[in-house]
Symmetry: C2
Subunit: 527 residues, 2 copies
Amino acid sequence: MSLHPVLIDGQWRTSSSTSGFQAMNPQTRQWLPDQFPISDWDEIESAVSAAYKAFDIVRNWPGARFAEFLEAYALEIEQRIDTIVATANSETALPVEPRLKGGEMVRTLNQIRQGAAAARDGSWKQPVIDTATGIRSMLGPIGPVVVFGPNNFPLAFNSIAGGDFVAAIAAGNPVIAKGHSSHPHTTMLFAQAAHVAATATNLPPGFIQLIYRTSHSDGARLVSHPHVGATGYTGSRKAGLALKEASDRVGKPIYVELSSINPVFFLPGALEERASALVDEFVGSCLMGVGQFCTNPGLVVLPRGEATESFISAVGEKFAAAPVGTLLGDGVATGLKQAITKLQEAGAVLVTGDSAADPNRCCAPNTLLRTTGADFLNRPDAFQEEAFGNCSMIVVADDVREMRLIAESLEGNLTGSIYSATSGADDASYDLIAPALRQRVGRLLNDKMPTGVAVSPAMNHGGPFPATGHPGFTAVGIPASLRRFAMLQCYDNVREHRLPAELQNTNPTGTLWRTISGQPTQSDVPA
Amino acid sequence: MSLHPVLIDGQWRTSSSTSGFQAMNPQTRQWLPDQFPISDWDEIESAVSAAYKAFDIVRNWPGARFAEFLEAYALEIEQRIDTIVATANSETALPVEPRLKGGEMVRTLNQIRQGAAAARDGSWKQPVIDTATGIRSMLGPIGPVVVFGPNNFPLAFNSIAGGDFVAAIAAGNPVIAKGHSSHPHTTMLFAQAAHVAATATNLPPGFIQLIYRTSHSDGARLVSHPHVGATGYTGSRKAGLALKEASDRVGKPIYVELSSINPVFFLPGALEERASALVDEFVGSCLMGVGQFCTNPGLVVLPRGEATESFISAVGEKFAAAPVGTLLGDGVATGLKQAITKLQEAGAVLVTGDSAADPNRCCAPNTLLRTTGADFLNRPDAFQEEAFGNCSMIVVADDVREMRLIAESLEGNLTGSIYSATSGADDASYDLIAPALRQRVGRLLNDKMPTGVAVSPAMNHGGPFPATGHPGFTAVGIPASLRRFAMLQCYDNVREHRLPAELQNTNPTGTLWRTISGQPTQSDVPA
């Protein structure tokens, strides 16, 4: 068996491991030919050592150095676009167009360049200068970051090209990327481009590294290693919780994005006003990408009545009529079926979804479930099981007051949406539900489905547990996402020439925003 | 046994508990007469319910409402200063002057008023408005906060008057204060003042509450309760880790400040240049407050040589000659003796500290220990045992390179100090040690002892684990400390009249700083 090499300490090295794995083509359920190594602990530890050494070299580099790498990396990726998207398509079944090439790749390049701009600008470090006391502080890099990418965005959240990677690098940290096992070849292509760019921009060996897979116990050892600064993880709740526990035990920041069912509340006036448009909007959002978005609307809450029954019938018909998309892999298909079974065991009833699935590809029928508000409130935990994929559950509440109780019984989510009448007829109901929902979601939407996560500086792709591990941070949105991979570094009475440039009296760029004596400013420290 | 009541849901209630405790006067080792309840779970849960209800009421209040409370509270405290400091003196043995009245009380009132100003100003929420996408976000209150105050600052870190309390309230959260068992009466006096102020400023019942003590298991249940938003804890490592584990398991932010030995590095040129001044500075800092500061310099690293031996002798003599202060309680004295024994078992040698302690008060001799760099590097964990109190350990390194290795072997600390020659003679040594120390401490000092934590907007009273649980946050410094008790709240396509005032087009105060389309500004959103 010939295994692809790993990228460690500036070299593509033959893995010291003898065990390997292959990815599956979800469209055919055939194994793809390339073999990738499952790294052993020695190999993982050598990556940590190299990252630690690299960090010591770059610790005080200006952000412009990291920006140069990111910009060079974007150019290298642009030379490989067609290969990367074709490979990602074979590993994930996501369509080349409009998804991979015109969508995710554009976003990926955009994120990398936004990260470069943020690194160059430096304002994300939030420098604070208190001239009265001689104390100055800012956010500084936290040290080597481990990035575990998810299965569902092979480009834009790829462990060595996506949002967490960009944020960690732009903040000045080496990255050890742990590729997702479902798209190793795609990840390898990115890593090749990154390695060329890193070499061309004179980054130290060990600044960017890639391993493909580890055992669960080695993953836990890695994230809790004394020389690791922080970890970014997006993926399954079970694996993420194990990593979180290991990191928490040694007090290392870990940013996990675990699961979210993204509740959508339809208020009576909205249904009355524009039911047919809402059906289309919901079906489109729910089945897009075969429902494999972190922000997929998995729970819909409506008030009992004829309009709701019509809505459910119409959605059910469209689900049944829509083509059945190919899922990312057998694991996703199996997980989806198990979750649907659990929801049925809890008492949910199938509206549609009992057709047979094509055994020659990874898939499951478009599935719509329903239950009552009373049943939901009786077992809120059971009904909040995430069914990742082309599935959603409808909860028919007795009235708006029960909708509020449902909102109060929700776990933390990335998003929560409320649709209301444009006339204002739903405003009292909105005011009842919105405060409870607000506290339980990272992003509150009005009259809009949660899928589509703009890379906006105001975006919050985060939320209370179990959506993420800390509701104060976002994984998307630059520069805010950089702040996850930073520590607060204070300088007390430190001689001026020893301060980082951002904290010296002269504004190092002339455009850096700093807070001096309580006021944001781009000026120098007054003489 | 007559137990003092607890403050729950807006009332001073007879505790439902039948078990109680008393504080000790450390100056006499006599129990003080007042009895305070150990709350049972029902009582604790009723506090959580009341806080949850209160939060629903205040969720959208402008910061000015919380500012009014804090300002009224400061006035109420000012009417009780003499009683509070006299009580604190009897419970902690800290002197009324200069410590309690002229020092801590002034700081406490200052913090409360700074918190009020930050709440009124609102810029701590860091509003971000992206007009291109219609997405807006800011930090918002996280929900009921539990505050566990420490033993060593009965006023400035008091659970119902200190830094964490102020930060949580100023951020708009109800607080459930869990008083420290060593100064319940002091805490009760603050709570009485707070209750009067809360009533006068029309805060809902349940917004501020006080319990005195819980079992360890009930403490863990409390911090992980679904209706609790976050926890602030300052205290012992063992109890703090148990609470952290409980919070981490349910993904609730908990800000723990656990232990710190605050390493101080003296470089050769500094010793040569001003040894006698350094002796005085170190002895003063180490014995101040009987060494009972989180930032007490507990570890001193020097290069081998005559100057170092003279330094050690001089410090040892001053330690032996200095009056032996009274510790906060028997627990502190016992813990200190145990830690010294552990350090000796690891191989540290007593320079001074073998005199007998006065059995009629809580105390231990001023203790100085020493070891070699080689021994330290051989067992770095054992030598980093925190000896909380009037004790410090000196590590004599072979040379500056070994000092760097020691810096690299350190756990996370609140502070790290480096003393160097004013001539620049130590600059190369500084450049060797500072980067390693920088990454392991929250606050890096030059030529200054770490005790004395200014309430500056640039202060970082935080640091990597085990100093705290997350190196991105500070417990001191306003407005930064408020951000611990907040969640990132994003609004996507939300109708303008439903947005919080801080995110609407018109700047609500005219002075609020917001980032609009990437630029900090006090202007309205352009039409």
